[in-house]
């Protein structure tokens, strides 16, 4: 197949296929058709086939896809055939909740460092919650520690007023991926990637749908 730009929506769906396939694998299913996977993920069967076709030919005509192989292929496409090492910046309520978020581990995401502007203030609270002592470092050490621990992704959970300056530090430290929970737009240079997780925006969406029906 000739090269094409891959829609961002395709990547999001790949994530969903991956989850569904994991469930199927655990359920002992060996083979799946695009129609079955589509109905489980609530998309169009042709969509499934087209999404996969961007990256290769993973199926067998007349049969379907081998669950295990397809899952492995999708994970490889998404870059999940490795462990991603992450840091959390800003250890407030949300930040400390993420430190113990179980779903990350299952999916090859590992938090290897936590930073705050005032480690002393938060360390007791967090340790108590997690039931074990947790090391929280001062944000000034980010550059040094990023190298040392090979951090590739940072989760920003500071107050919005600090988010951009934290992002600047991350760029300087060579951390290329940012998941931004602070409800403010941040900008980074070419080559760095930011994805936002704005609860309130999604709530706005919900509010709109509820009030217009």
């Amino acid at each position: 197949m000739k090269y094409q730009k891959i829609p961002e929506a395709t990547i999001r769906r790949l994530s969903r296929y991956s989850r569904c396939l994991e469930e199927m694998e655990q359920g002992g299913e060996k083979v799946v058709s695009s129609a079955q996977l589509a109905s489980k993920c609530m998309v169009n069967p042709a969509q499934v086939r087209k999404d996969l076709a961007y990256f290769g030919e993973f199926g067998i005509r007349g049969v379907g896809y081998y669950v295990k192989d397809l899952l492995a292929s999708i994970k490889k496409v998404l870059g999940l055939n490795k462990e991603w090492r992450m840091a959390v910046i800003g250890i407030g309520n949300l930040g400390s909740a993420l430190l113990s978020y179980k779903d990350f581990l299952k999916q090859n995401y590992k938090i290897v460092a936590a930073f705050d502007i005032d480690p002393q203030k938060v360390i007791g609270r967090v340790s108590e919650k997690l039931g074990k002592p947790v090391e929280i470092l001062h944000i000034s050490r980010i550059k040094e520690v990023a190298k040392e621990r090979k951090i590739e992704i940072a989760l920003i959970t500071t107050p919005p007023s600090e988010a951009q300056s934290v992002a600047n530090l991350l760029v300087e430290a060579g951390i290329r991926g940012i998941l931004n929970f602070a409800p403010t737009q941040i900008t980074v240079p070419e080559g760095f990637v930011v994805k936002d997780v704005f609860f309130t925006n999604i709530l706005d969406n919900l509010a709109y749908l509820l009030s217009s029906s």
Copy 2:
């Protein structure tokens, strides 16, 4: 203007315009052009005008938009000219973090109840964190309390295995909006709305972008 279906992307951008306009209003700016708003929100100026045009004519030709009026109009469109009353279901780390999430209040979202399957177990921990006693109710009381407190939106922060059965209870209780943080697909009848917040899916997206560049 004649009626058209409104793209979901338009609604998401409206949310962003709203945030930018709030900042501008606080900064004392009175008037804004589509070009200025667009550059602040990182979209195309024509996009801004088209998005707004779905809902009316808010601007003045040759001048621009009055910041205050436009903000009020957008909030009205999004259904944010009222207070939305919410419940959090599942008071683990994430759930309790959301109980004290500041940004909700600023945007007219108010958490008026918290539920868990084992209130005794979590109540101490949460109260301590928030620095005040917090009432956590048993999930079995959801229907009764939903009526009483006029709950319209629920945030599901239970383990994924419980998410669908919780959603069923919410439907029964007449709560029409669900923000689902549990990493599993849930289904609800016509007339109800679910929006997902799956951190791991967004990380997958980030991982893909990082590994393919």
